[in-house]
Amino acid sequence: MTQGSSPLASPQKLRNYPSYRGGEGMVAWAFHRISGIGVWAFIVLHVFDIWLIGANPALYDALGEFYSSAPGRVMETLLGAALFYHALNGMRIVVMDFWPALTIYHRGLWRAVWVTFFTFGLPGAYIILKPIWEMAA
């Protein structure tokens, strides 16, 4: 029981916080959250468009056009990147969840996430994007 609090204390504003200079862990978290929300938003759309296969195939095909167009492919690449980063970092989190002692290596694990991300991601991006310049050519 204490009697110390100040009646005049002024709450701080949430908008100041992004300037905090966190380390790898904070960046990993921010990316994870952003990618999670991004993938979620896409999936809401995606389930809906899959539903169109039964409900309105013509509309679905129109959408499919978009997916295979140049901007569509760029978007797909970003989606893939988000999903892939999220998946890898998600495994990093799960691994630490079940073996808390691994937390001392969280930076190393994070680096491993990026190495994996680029090793598989760059060829993947190439495959998805290739048709763009093939089309152009």
Partner: protein, 129 residues
Amino acid sequence: MSAQKYSISGRPRPTGSRVDLYVWWAVRISSLALFVLALAHFSMTHFVFDPGIQSAEWVRQTRWNSITLRVLDWGMLMAVLVHGFLGMRTVMQDYVPSRIRQASLIGLYAIALLLFVLGTQVVVTLPMD
């Protein structure tokens, strides 16, 4: 005895609720399922087949012409509904002001229900060759 009290001070008495424990487990388990299913799905739709050929007709005749693939895709839908929406629940618990948090969460769950219905419907009713 003071030892029995939860909080001598101002912190609201913890609810002792286990909901968040179950949520935690559900997110972890579904994430393991998604790691396989979602990555496989993405590879299939982008690396094995080019998006350019995946018309509605193609999906019906090729992709979903197998019960196994339909079941797997439906399973992935379930995992996403659990994982993605519980994930969004966390995000909303963080950033949605408490006044409208309850209402927003109900909205979120409603979207989940809608996706469940739409997704299940198409998986079950789309005719096979």
